[in-house]
Symmetry: C2
Subunit: 218 residues, 2 copies
């Protein structure tokens, strides 16, 4: 077997970092805690948000930016769950960068909010590279995607602060080794807490909501 | 609910298109048929390839380029199934472009091959934008990802020639409406054939292999 590595230059991310810092400072002044939620397509980002909003809406005034390459159904769902919500289209782009996040926040309106979620574009690669100024980066891996994903998408597991393992209710039908996953994760990110949940049944969400609450400082 | 669309300019893809045409001409001269396989992370690209190689290896001399942001296990798997294989790393990039594909083909060596697969980086967004000079674009959607994906990632469903719906064995545990999926797909790509399969059990692979065989002209 041949083996070839294409090393490509890191894109210049300086402009993005500057915009991300501006977002971070702006939101700190306003007292709003900002969470960037990232995952593959279909991992359950919106359903996870619906569950978290239900559990947290009495303690936080919550805003959500739903970013998608296209489509317009997710914002309505989280709005129904009790959050202020807007839908963002990236026009086919594979991630949200800090500049687009800033424009999204302006459109959402941050006044009166103390917890803001960005549901990033479904993608395990690009969103990991672009800081959006979030205070906390959450990622979801769903059981059907497989326990080998840290080996293939290491950056996402490295930059995220916590890992949500969703679709726990489907464990019986997949060859998914939770122990192997946790071992792979801890090699990349030793301090990363793992929250196994089922957004379908609600299992595991109390621990996850408590973690978010603690991190958001309430 | 507010609603905002970020229209961003299409990236200049002219250089990529030129390189893609060169690949296409080069492989036509050599008599090799080239397939670009795209899907989300964990949709079952490698297992699908293993199944196809088993069914096609007596009729075709098969080569596979396994592209990943990182990791090195997939090439060994398809090699064991009976293909010439190399592993490509994109250095964190979210897709293979035509230039990287060209370098991969040079490294793989196309002499003596008549069917070549590129397993693209797991991603439903970026690979759709970059032509790799392939004669046929196959995409996989897996049942756990959900039947709504054509609404959110329309470009991938538009540019692909055929849709493989994998993990059919998990239908009983997911709210997945195959009819709704097919309806959404046909709005984007009316001529797109859909192949429901289970790479785990092998179900549906004879029809898929026959399609590949027919398209590859044998």
């Amino acid at each position: 077997m041949n083996y070839e590595v294409f090393e490509t230059k890191e894109r210049i991310l300086a402009d993005n970092e500057r915009a991300a810092r501006e977002i971070s400072e702006m939101l700190r002044e306003k007292g709003a805690f900002f969470i960037n939620l990232m995952a593959s397509p279909g991992a359950g980002k919106t359903t996870t948000l619906e569950r978290l909003i239900e559990l947290l809406k009495d303690k936080f005034r919550i805003g959500v930016m739903e970013a998608d390459a296209d489509g317009e159904t997710d914002a309505a769902r989280v709005e129904a769950a009790g959050a202020r919500a807007i839908q963002l289209h990236t026009g086919g782009l594979c991630h949200m960068d800090a500049d687009m996040t800033k424009r999204g926040l302006e459109r959402l309106g941050t006044d009166g909010l103390d917890l803001i979620f960005l549901e990033n574009v479904g993608n395990l690669v690009c969103p990991a590279e672009f800081d959006t100024g979030a205070d906390l980066k959450l990622m979801i891996l769903s059981v059907p995607e497989g326990d080998d994903k840290p080996l293939k998408y290491p950056l996402m597991f490295t930059v995220s602060d916590a890992l949500i393992v969703n679709k726990l209710d489907t464990l019986p039908v997949f060859d998914f080794d939770m122990e192997a996953l946790c071992e792979r994760v801890s090699k990349l990110n030793p301090d990363m807490p793992v929250f196994p949940v089922s957004a379908k049944t609600g299992e595991g969400f109390e621990a996850l909501a408590a973690y978010v609450e603690r991190r958001a400082g309430k």
